[in-house]
């Protein structure tokens, strides 16, 4: 390396130093600290409980019914919310991308749900679902789909899906926005030549649009999967995990263990479990993504 290059490299280190320090302080250090704590018995309510726990927190995790229950709920939440967000998001993106009248307005309006803070929209949905004055009940009885008001969040079989529905409403615009970006990168001339060759609109969609935006969709799916895996505020506000634990999700369970019960050791083990599960999901997605690009 020439002296100049060395000089430049040094300056490079200096300039990235603040960012590295910040990342270390707010991301890496807490992560390592959580790993460490998950191997201890630390319990804030018991000042004497500081001993090394070995793997006992993780053993407990495997026999903890509530952990498996909340993992199941989380997975149901992730699968259904991401699938519906993808379907609706794709539709919305196609609509926003097409050259119809009022496209600007559609784009602006479509983004509103996403722009509302989750806690606010969760409270809003809580009232929409209300069994006495909720708009959903009023609407559905008016158009004759149900004949009496339903307590959507009261029924353990319905409540999780009611929460999923609110999440789909809220994050579909985000999915649509990402897919729209992908759609706009598709070269218009491909469509022109396809229609010259006599391909129908449907054929164009499946043979051109979908393959072209596949990488974008995968990235959007990755974002949403990881995001919905950590769902917290929506459930916290709407049901606090109830009725029973029909809507208990992993982050809510970890939060309760850590900050309500103050059982730092076991709570950290839960947090580490979430971290590992998320890492597995990311690795799978990244594998799929990179194999796509090679082709």
């Amino acid at each position: 390396m020439s002296t100049l290059a060395k000089q430049k490299a040094k300056w490079g280190y200096i300039f990235v130093a603040p960012a590295v320090i910040v990342i270390f302080a707010v991301a890496i250090y807490p992560l390592l600290s959580t790993f460490y704590l998950s191997f201890t018995h630390k319990d804030l309510l018991d000042p004497t409980s500081d001993g090394f726990a070995g793997l006992s927190n993780y053993k407990k995790l495997f026999s903890d019914i509530l952990f498996w229950e909340s993992l199941k709920n989380t997975l149901i939440f992730v699968v259904f919310s991401v699938i519906f967000e993808l379907i609706f998001g794709l539709g919305l993106a196609l609509l926003m991308n097409s050259a119809i009248k009022g496209r600007g307005i559609i784009r602006a309006v479509a983004l509103i749900p996403w722009a509302i803070p989750t806690v606010v929209s969760a409270t809003m949905w809580l009232w929409l679902y209300n069994d006495q004055w909720g708009f959903i009940n009023i609407l559905l009885t008016k158009i004759g789909i149900i004949d009496h008001y339903v307590a959507w969040l009261s029924d353990p079989n319905l409540s999780l899906f009611a929460v999923i529905f609110s999440d789909v409403w809220k994050t579909t615009p985000f999915m649509a926005l990402l897919i729209l970006a992908g759609l706009q990168m598709v070269d218009q001339s491909i469509y022109e030549s396809a229609s010259v060759d006599g391909a129908s609109k449907l054929r164009q969609f499946f043979s051109i649009t979908l393959p072209m935006i596949k990488p974008t969709i995968l990235v959007a799916l990755l974002f949403r999967t990881l995001d919905s895996f950590r769902v917290f505020d929506l459930v916290y506000v709407m049901t606090s995990g109830g009725p029973g634990h029909s809507t208990e999700v992993l982050s809510l369970y970890a939060y309760k263990t850590l900050f309500k019960e103050l059982n730092i050791g076991y709570g950290s083990a839960l947090a580490v479990a979430i971290f590992i599960l998320i890492s597995i999901i990311s690795v799978i997605y990244v594998k799929v993504l990179s194999s796509r690009e090679e082709i």
Binding site: L153, S154, T239, P243
Partner: protein, 445 residues
Amino acid sequence: MWFQKIGKRSEEYLNTNRRCLILKKYILLFVVLILALTGCASETTTKSKGEKSKKEETKEITFTIFNDGVGVDQKLVDEFNKSHDKIHVTYRPIAGTELQDRLITWMAAKDKSLDVVGLDVVWTNQFAKAGWIVPIEDYISDDFKKEIKDNFIQAPVKAQTIDKKLYAVPWNTNGGLIYYRKDLLKKYGFEPPATMDELVQQAEEISKKEGIYGYVGQFKRYEAIVANMTEFFEAYGGGIIDDKGKIIVNSKENLEALKTVLRLKKVMPAGANTYVEKESQETFLNGSVAFLRAWTNVWNLAQADGSKVKDKVGMIPFPGDKEGKAVSTLGGWNLAVSAYSENKEAATEFIQWLADKERQKIKANEGGRLPVLKSLYEDTDVTSKNPAFKEFYDVLVNGVMRPKVANYSKVSDIIQNEMSLAFTGDKTPEQALKDLQQQLEETIK
């Protein structure tokens, strides 16, 4: 590109200024390091230095409590600062829903900036057992100790007493009670219910004939379901933990109580298991229900303009299984001193000042909070402003405490879960009580 241009320019700069550059580089590095490492610390060091020089004259303390929303606490703090030149209090209001989490984080970090803290009635045990607050009994004056013993309502005092020591000074109190529709009871020739059985019958009959709901409480899976269920258990002579710390959940009294709740559920709105305070009181204020279990604050809401039940509301203590018996879950706020405070004496002085008669009166008149000082319930200044307070008094003397255990949050979560399952019908009452007993035994030990 712009950055390429900058790159080129800086290269030129590097070449021409080689010599002084090395010096400059080290200066810059030094500055960056100083900023990064001591940026936040520098503020605190200068501050504490300033404090030290002032220490002889003025003690700085903080007062951390939930934001009362009406500014009464701020006013009290200002008044204290004006009248005391030896102590200066900084008021630190925190949103009610956040306060517990914030206090726990600070306490766990042994934060010295906490002095006086406001605690909800159910937190004190947890904070005391964790060693985060000092027994206030060891700090307050003998006169004040006597005042608490002789003139305070004893239920809240008992609630703040852990292992025979008083840890926090009750400041104001609250209790669950039953609101009823005077007009509807009159219409069907009922007297206000004296027992729980009467209440159930009246609720059922009014609901059937009037086409409205009979009863509403707070049965969502969160803290208030514990308060609601505790009242029912106590009403039937059952309970969760007895005075000796034994778990007494699986009893025939509790089973009867739980069955009564399920019977009442038939005249509750379908979504009753999702209701918190807000939904339940809206149902009542809309005139859609005959009986409401709520805290004391609903009285003023019912009398306010816009309420559909204005002047049609009466209120009774939560009835028991026999006439003359009444229960109520205790709520309310208490003042404690942090174990990490460096000015415990000053903090105690401030607490004594806040909890004296004059200040409790201001809190009652301007903040609508129920005082813990008995004499204020006879004080015409207070009763003329809040006529209902007199009636609350009987409720408050009967206050029962939610389980007093160190890991209350865990215990509460287990109770919430099992009771929510029983209420929703996922478990039979027998099974829920059996499971609850077993889980609590495992948790408390």
